[in-house]
């Protein structure tokens, strides 16, 4: 690309400052909208995802139920054959004995697997004085569990990491209902017996399932309360990217003796909703970008028409068609780049302004509009505007390159 085409493009843009500003503003508005919409929808989706998956494993591995066996029964009284199935559903808790091997196998299996938490889960009844509440007992190694769910930093009181035998962390709503405070004792009755536990921590996770009815204990404590020996009931898998869940589950199921449940399969409707939201936002952005492209086309066409004679003179002086094309395509690129950068700045400012809004003074941590801003989004939007601007400018630029010098020079 020659210096002369740069010079001509820049001079032409500068000589019509209002037109240039108008074209750049059209791009700026569209890029601002794309950045802002993406940040907002991304933020809302992220919050929705966190609400959905924040407190649950992305993939849950449980021992595969045995396949119902076909049974062929020969009836002695007749010559017919009875074909049917025999249910093999078990009543006792299914468990995984050799889980240590599976944990290291799983953690090496896939790059998306962040952590595998051997977990013991089972039912229990919590008793405090004369009141009782049904609860779930969740036993896991606190350090590991905390890595996945960040329980420690959501504690209202006490501790989770470093939890000992005979200690438990309770959800804050459960604790409130029963009037339990730090260091209080309570009893839990499980299918195999009754244990007395000490409140070592109270947690507010924001997930009602956890805040309302779970007692977190150590793995060993849960194993003993549920009579599992050294076995666990589930392997909970947290992923680096939640949307890899289906893929990871599908990868594990055929090669391991587990039933692999992905959070995605169990939240189909939510995902369909998110997808519909993404698609409609994409459509809006598509049309906004298209409009910006048309803006550049129309303004540059005006520019070409106003400069027909100038183009003719340049051609007469020996400018090639490709040089003329460059001059006008460059203008489109420069307008789009300028507009794109300004628009990105605007979009980011707008998103941050919305992000400042808080639900209330009482909940300073909860923003009304969660936004998801990242460099990829901002740079991507600018790059998109440059590509669209350049492509759009090719229409007027080709028109300019096709100008016949004879026709325009003499028509004065």
């Amino acid at each position: 690309m020659g210096r002369v085409t740069w010079m001509l493009a820049l001079r032409q843009l500068r000589s019509a400052p209002r037109q240039s500003a108008l074209a750049a503003s059209v791009v700026a508005v569209s890029v601002a909208l794309v950045v802002f919409l993406n940040a907002l929808i991304g933020g809302l989706q992220r919050r929705l995802l966190e609400t959905t998956t924040g407190g649950i494993p992305h993939v849950v591995l449980e021992p595969a139920p045995r396949e119902p066996l076909p049974v062929w029964v020969l009836r002695p009284s007749s010559d017919s054959v009875y074909v049917g199935t025999r249910s093999t559903r078990e009543l006792r808790t299914r468990s995984i004995e050799n889980w240590r091997g599976w944990v290291s196998w799983l953690e090496a299996l896939d790059r998306d697997i962040a952590v595998v938490i051997p977990t013991v889960e089972g039912p229990g009844v919590l008793t405090r004085e004369s009141r009782t509440e049904p609860i779930r007992i969740v036993g896991a190694d606190p350090e590991r569990f905390d890595r996945a769910f960040g329980l420690q930093q959501r504690l209202v009181a006490g501790r989770y990491v470093g939890l000992g035998g005979g200690e438990a962390v309770l959800g804050h709503r459960l604790a409130d209902r029963l009037g339990l405070r730090l260091r209080d004792r309570f009893r839990v009755t499980s299918p195999v017996g009754t244990s007395t536990l000490l409140v070592a921590g109270i947690v507010r996770t924001g997930f009602s399932r956890l805040d309302d009815g779970v007692a977190f204990v150590t793995l060993r404590q849960a194993q003993s309360m549920l009579g599992l020996g050294t076995a666990v009931t589930t392997l909970s898998v947290r992923l680096r990217r939640p949307f890899a869940a289906d893929r990871v589950a599908d990868r594990i199921a055929p090669v391991a003796p587990f039933e692999a449940r992905s959070w995605m399969r169990e939240n189909r409707q939510l995902l369909a909703g998110l997808q519909a939201q993404s698609q409609s936002s994409f459509l809006i952005q598509f049309f906004v970008t298209l409009a910006a492209g048309f803006g550049i086309v129309s303004i540059l066409i005006t520019n070409v028409l106003a400069r027909l004679r100038e183009i003719g003179i340049l051609r007469a002086m020996g400018a090639t068609r490709s040089q003329i094309l460059e001059v006008f395509a460059l203008q489109g690129t420069l307008l789009a780049l300028t507009g794109g950068l300004v628009g990105a700045g605007l979009g980011v400012s707008l998103a941050l302004l919305f992000y400042q809004a808080r639900a209330s003074a009482a909940q300073p941590d909860l923003e009304v509009f969660p936004v998801d801003l990242n460099a990829g989004l901002v740079l991507g939007s600018v790059a998109l505007s440059v590509v669209v601007g350049t492509l759009a400018s090719l229409i007027p630029a080709r028109q300019a390159a096709a100008v016949d010098p004879i026709r325009v020079i003499r028509s004065t």
């Binding site: 020659g2 210096r3 002369v4 010079m7 001509l8 001079r11 032409q12 500068r14 000589s15 004679r309 100038e310 003179i313 340049l314 051609r315 007469a316 002086m317 020996g318 400018a319 090639t320 068609r321 040089q323 010098p405 004879i406 020079i409 003499r410 004065t412």
Partner: protein, 228 residues
């Protein structure tokens, strides 16, 4: 001596609307350093002739040789490059680019070719100085008078060191004094640089001062009458 330009039986037929022969069997040869005036009534084919010589238009038949090379059937791109390297244009309405300064306008033909060497720049600035416009180098064309603008256009036409300068009514838009000054300057530069000039004009005063006058009527060149 070999001709800078040679036209052999060049015809041009315009087929849009009623077919019109704009040029019929035109033969013309221009020697190096020669100053040729082309005269004739309106619609006689002067401009068509200049467009064909300037590689802006193609002959319907016949042959055009520029610097010894047949240029009648070159591609669009090749013609652009030849215009850039061998030809200089002066238009009736000057046609300087309004958003470029005087010196930028003058250097434009060189920039279209690539970079401008220090030697080129010195030469072009010398030409500007010669026509008394060195002080206006950083000024935009709109701040100059018509005569000054045409002088700048003349220097622009010479900037790429062309073989042939084509001037289409270069004095047509100027008052008689400025017109005279521009013509004298063209003649002076023609003698000083030994470039060939072809000037289309209506003005007999200037035509008679050319090395040769080519009269054209109804697309035909009339027998030569004046050889000063």
């Amino acid at each position: 001596m070999e001709s800078v330009l040679q036209l052999d039986r060049v015809c041009k037929l315009y087929t849009e609307g009623v077919p019109v022969w704009a040029l019929r069997d035109v033969d013309l040869a221009v020697r190096p350093g020669e100053f040729v005036a082309v005269v004739g009534p309106s619609g006689s084919g002067k401009t068509t002739l200049l467009n064909i010589i300037g590689l802006l238009d193609r002959p319907t038949s016949g042959r055009v040789l520029l610097a010894g090379r047949d240029v009648s059937n070159l591609s669009e791109n090749a013609r652009s490059l030849l215009r850039r390297d061998l030809l200089g244009f002066v238009f009736q309405n000057y046609y300087l680019l309004p958003e470029l300064t005087v010196v930028e306008n003058v250097l434009l033909p060189l920039r279209l070719r690539g970079s401008v060497s220090a030697r080129d720049r010195t030469r072009v600035e010398g030409l500007l100085d010669r026509v008394g416009l060195a002080a206006y180098a950083r000024v935009f064309p709109s701040q100059l008078s018509g005569g000054q603008q045409q002088r700048v256009a003349l220097i622009r036409a010479l900037a790429n060191d062309p073989t042939l300068v084509l001037a289409d009514e270069p004095t047509g838009n100027l008052d008689s004094q400025s017109g005279r000054a521009v013509f004298d300057l063209m003649r002076e530069l023609n003698r000083a640089t030994a470039k060939s000039f072809i000037m289309v004009t209506h003005d007999e005063r200037f035509a008679t001062q050319a090395d040769r006058v080519v009269r054209i009527e109804d697309g035909r060149i009339q027998p030569e009458a004046v050889t000063p």
